[in-house]
Amino acid sequence: MNLDSKWVPMKWPCGPLEIARRNKPQSINADLKETLEAWGQPSALELLKGTPINCLIVDWAYGVPEDSAQQRALKPLLEAGRRLGISFVGKVALKEGSGAAVAAARAAGLSAVMLGDTSGQSYDLPTIPQFPRDKVAWETASTIFSSTENVWPGLGLETMKGDTAIAGPTGVPWVNSNGWFSLLAGELAREKTLWLDFDPPDTSNLLHPASYGLAVADSRAYGSRWIISLDDKLRAALPKGNSQAKGVWEKMCEAIAFFESHREWEAFKSQGILAVISDFRGENAFLSGEVLNLLNRRGVQFQIIERSRPLPAPAKGLKALLWLDKEAPSAEQHSQLLAFVRQGGLVIASAYWGPAEVKPTPKDPSLQYKMYNVGKGQIAVAEEGFQDPYQVSVDTHLLVSRRNDLVRLYNPDATNCHASIDPGHRKRLVQVLNYSSQPADFVTVWVNDRVGSARLWRPGTKNALTLQGVAAAPGTDFALPPLSVYCALEFEGSNL
């Protein structure tokens, strides 16, 4: 069996291995032990009936004495799961000698194993490599890969006063999002699926239903999948039929089902006025990653281009290239960059590679850039190189100009959006996410096209609502109804 890109994965911690793991550094309490035992029973799978969740991640081998007990204990669960059409992926966390564990997984009927270190070994079972976020081997042969060290989406704690968002130093609430990383994975590992591994924060109460919905939406809207992970309190409460816990679970499943019913959106490509170019690796990884994160937070619509790929020509919507790396372009890239500029594009870089005879022109005093007019376009060179990712993102937005925004949010508060377009350029999608647990009121989406109406999609509703636009030259305003977690505006036309 191969890895299935349609898998909807969920962590299923249970059994002797998880109990042993939780027994350190202090003794596990009786309630938690009972919960972990309960989730190991086949009856626990009843929870999944009617949901899109079809792949469970179970602990398989950690190189501890409890490994074999775990594998034995899981047998009834695996058998019951298979009867329900559920696939199982065993997590193997061994530094070496994974072969025996993988063989045992194969014998037990697991569909795949998730490995921290594949080390180029081949196994007779599909493997899902898992990497820390800053060490992802983008060239992995696996069609599904996973990253750890992601963030739980939502408002940053430093911008919270009780339940209310307060402005940060940049004037907007800081939000934690994995969106930029999912977009990066979409470029560096094309045609592959990223599973984001992150757990809910440890809180004293059940998490707000919106928190789980956001964890789903922040992954799916940007093209990745969250390995669903419930907090201990929710997992303890669900088997007991707690109505509040059931509500949280149902809301989350509703969000997953919504995205499963819109799988066609996964083929949509980010729509960008700007292409961000880097190798996104090694010494360039931090700056380039942060710039992506901050550009996304500023609502700048961008595409990502790995430095080794061919550079684009100016096309409708693409106005600028941001060359982030210190490394100079190759001879071929150099001519591509100059062609882009001569045709009217803007290249933003930390060094000048244009014609030597061109001298910089006067510039706005607020921008620490030298501006060179070349052909119909410009090259903007950061006078002191690229140092502060925040400043790079601010300057880039100004250099490209808000006049070129494709989408803008009004009354954004803790919301953000992602614009994408279908490969045939007939459908455009603007997905709006609310990172606060409080509904966002009076958010208006402005798009740079004159469109009469849009289809408004929201989790929990089967059919789209038609939203009428209000002309706001040169585009159109769409006033959203109160936004709990997520909505998507879909536009159709022949000239997108």
């Binding site: 607020s366 803008r408 949010l409 009004y410 040169p474």
Partner: protein
């Protein structure tokens, strides 16, 4: 980054020592010398072509703009408070808390037509040095519309040094109420005519914000903002104008010093913003005189100065006000809002603050006494839109 902070008491101590002397004897200042003035009131119900007609008539009623602006460089301070992505409900800022682009365009067009040599649109947008055009674009405005409204139209963000080589110093005649003088962007000096183009609004801290309070925003946050350095202006603003509200921080030593009011240090005001902000505003309009005050009250909001204020509401008074004296113009504006321009602290709209009008009047800037103001165009009684009764 080096920053200067001090306690409110210390700030007041520094500010109050000099001011105390005149506060004790306000009559010795120039109230009696306040000039009489003429103010035009026009009815205009929408932001369409009718704006230019209404404003043109009002300028004619004031004696025409030609003698004021012909051959001159005109600087227009716009009221673009907050950020353009903030809306009151779904309504764009020009409909609620910013001066509307139609009013800006009409003003530029009429002043250019009257012979202005150059027109500069100015604002100090909150905590940013970005070009003013970019700030406007964020609100979905098109700055090119203003460029085409006159022959030589320019923009400058005055929240920092901008295109200038140094800040311009403006001393307050009579010594000032809060500071002896203010360091401002060069644009406020490099002009022959200064116009305050404001919105008709109430204000949480200052009671009202009309043509005078609009000038609060001429102060650069590199000097008067929260993150300004201790000795010299910052290169970029690091915070808003909180120090004027909270009296908790002094500007860099390079700026003119605060007025010394020892009386205040022993008896600090309960509401520092309500004390300080009106005084700073009065200082500013005394130091940087306003030649033409225009107030956009066609559409606006009640309850405060922006959508961040609770209890606010969009309203449509359908009014334009213009005058060549900012105190008189604001007095008429207040009356049109249903307030008594002679009101002072404790009386609406100055429930928790001092009256900027009274303070400016005492500095000799103008009169707030409607008996000394000639109201042209639509009578106040006919045009009044009571802000507290809607």
């Amino acid at each position: 980054m080096i920053t200067t902070t001090c306690s409110r008491r210390k700030f007041i101590g520094a500010v109050g020592a000099t001011a105390g002397a005149w506060l004790a004897r306000p009559a010795m200042f120039l109230a009696h010398a306040a000039p009489a003035s003429r103010v035009a009131v026009g009815m205009c119900h929408e932001y369409g072509p009718e704006v230019i007609v209404a404003l043109g008539n009002m300028f004619d009623q004031l004696g025409g703009m030609e003698r004021l602006v012909r051959g001159k460089t005109v600087a227009i301070k716009l009221n673009l408070t907050g950020v353009g992505t903030n809306r009151l409900g779904s309504l764009p800022p020009g409909i609620t808390y910013w001066v509307h682009p139609q009013v800006i365009g009409a003003t530029v067009h009429l002043l250019a037509k009257a012979g202005a040599h150059r027109i500069r649109l100015l604002e100090s947008p909150m905590v940013t040095t970005e070009p003013l055009e970019e700030f406007m674009l964020q609100a979905n405005w098109e700055p090119r519309d203003f460029l085409s409204a006159g022959a030589r139209v320019e923009f400058e963000n005055t929240n920092y040094l901008g295109n200038g080589k140094k800040y311009s110093r403006f001393w307050v005649p009579g010594g000032g109420l809060m500071f002896k003088g203010y360091d401002l962007n060069h644009s406020y000096e490099d002009c022959d005519v200064f116009v305050s183009l404001a919105k008709l609004k109430e204000h949480t801290t200052a009671g009202i914000t009309l043509s005078m309070k609009n000038c609060f925003g001429i102060t650069p946050c590199t000097i008067y903002g929260e993150g300004a350095p201790e000795d010299e202006p910052g290169l970029v603003p690091r915070g808003g104008r909180g120090p004027f509200h909270w009296m908790n921080r002094l500007p860099p030593k390079s700026a003119p010093p605060p007025v010394n009011a020892s009386a205040l240090s022993s008896n600090p005001p309960k509401d520092p913003g309500g004390y300080s902000v009106p005084r700073v505003v009065a200082d500013l309009v005394a130091a940087r005189p306003v030649h033409l005050a225009i107030i956009d009250g066609i559409h606006t909001m009640t309850g405060g100065e922006g959508p961040w204020v609770t209890g606010r509401r969009h309203v449509q008074p359908g009014l334009l006000v213009a005058g060549t004296n900012c105190v008189a113009t604001d007095a008429v504006g207040m009356a049109l809002m249903g307030f008594d321009p002679m009101a002072d602290r404790g009386t609406p709209p100055f429930e928790t603050c001092d009256s900027t009008l009274r303070l400016a009047e005492q500095l000799g800037v103008g009169t707030r006494d409607l008996n000394q103001i000639e109201v042209l165009g639509t009578p106040i009684a006919k045009a009044r839109f009571n802000f507290r009764s809607v």
